[in-house]
């Protein structure tokens, strides 16, 4: 699968369908982004089912204090990633961001039986881009009862 900057993701298997809400069978190798240009990428992992989180809606916004300016909304594909990086090159600016994950709706769509209201519904992930010349990879691992995220690679 070729990216806009011409690099190739080291991933075997078919390209993920952006409309898919079924996780890909875990038969392909993990992805490496070595050599690719500046970007912000997301990988959502469902630790409850042990699969990539496919079909989850995520809202990316620019944050200034408590004020949010929407940038885009994406839906993860079968591999738990949106079809394109969230931001690349000049679109990746230094500053404060918030990614809102629709976790409650994700588990509801999977038929997971949870209390009402569920403990987690829309989960805000706040992070800071300091050097817009770097790759910033954001893995998010979650269950209906908790989540983790970190700067990965």
């Amino acid at each position: 699968m070729a990216t806009a900057s011409g690099g190739v993701l080291a991933q075997a298997g078919p390209a993920p369908s952006t409309a898919s809400d079924k996780p890909a069978p875990l038969t392909s190798a993990p992805v490496s982004q070595a050599g690719l240009g500046p970007r912000l990428t997301l990988h959502a992992i469902d630790n409850f089912h042990g699969t990539p989180a496919a079909g989850m809606v995520c809202d990316l916004a620019w944050r200034e204090g408590d004020s949010l300016t929407p940038i885009k909304t994406v839906t993860t594909g079968a591999n738990g990633r949106p079809a394109e990086p969230l931001l690349t090159d000049a679109a990746l600016r230094p500053g404060h961001y918030e990614l809102l994950l629709h976790v409650g709706a994700y588990f509801a769509a999977r038929g997971v039986s949870l209390p009402s209201p569920n403990f987690l519904d829309r989960v805000p992930i706040r992070f800071r881009i300091r050097d817009a010349g770097q790759r910033h990879h954001l893995p998010v691992l979650f269950t209906p009862w908790g989540y983790s995220y970190y700067r990965g690679s």
Binding site: R63, H96, Y97, P115, S116, P117, N118, F119, L120, D121, R122, V123, P124, R126, F127, R128, R130, D131, H136, T143, W145, G146, Y147, S148, Y149, Y150, R151
Partner: protein
């Protein structure tokens, strides 16, 4: 015992994070209303519960953790490595008889929260 508690840990150092300001808010209609601001003690907890059992109601709650200052003032921390950004945890009380312990574990480059006990 019902109510809400938290515990902030610096997983980079393997220690509780003391002196972190936490703003606790409740969702009132469409807006988050600040209920109180507290500071974590030497054990990374708060001296009083975040929400007392008598005040526990079904609803949406928010804990805003001011970690920026903590990491910036922490000796040996490179500002360029601080990726997490004053995290905000939003969760629901669905059964006011239950206790909701919501720890927050963080390092400059990672964050975890979960319903604990």
């Amino acid at each position: 015992m019902a109510g809400i508690s938290t515990h902030v840990l610096d997983t980079d150092r393997g220690r509780p994070a003391a002196g972190i300001r936490i703003d606790f808010s409740v969702l009132d209609g469409e807006t988050w209303r600040l209920v109180k601001s507290v500071v974590t003690n030497a054990d990374g907890r708060t001296d009083q519960p975040i929400l007392a059992p008598s005040d526990a109601k079904v609803g949406q709650y928010q804990l805003a953790f001011h970690v920026d200052d903590y990491f910036r003032d922490r000796p040996g921390t490179a500002e360029a490595d601080i990726f997490i950004d004053n995290p905000v945890v939003r969760f629901a009380i669905f059964d006011p008889a239950q206790h909701y312990h919501v720890p927050m574990l963080c390092a400059p480059g990672s964050f975890t929260t979960y319903r604990g006990s």
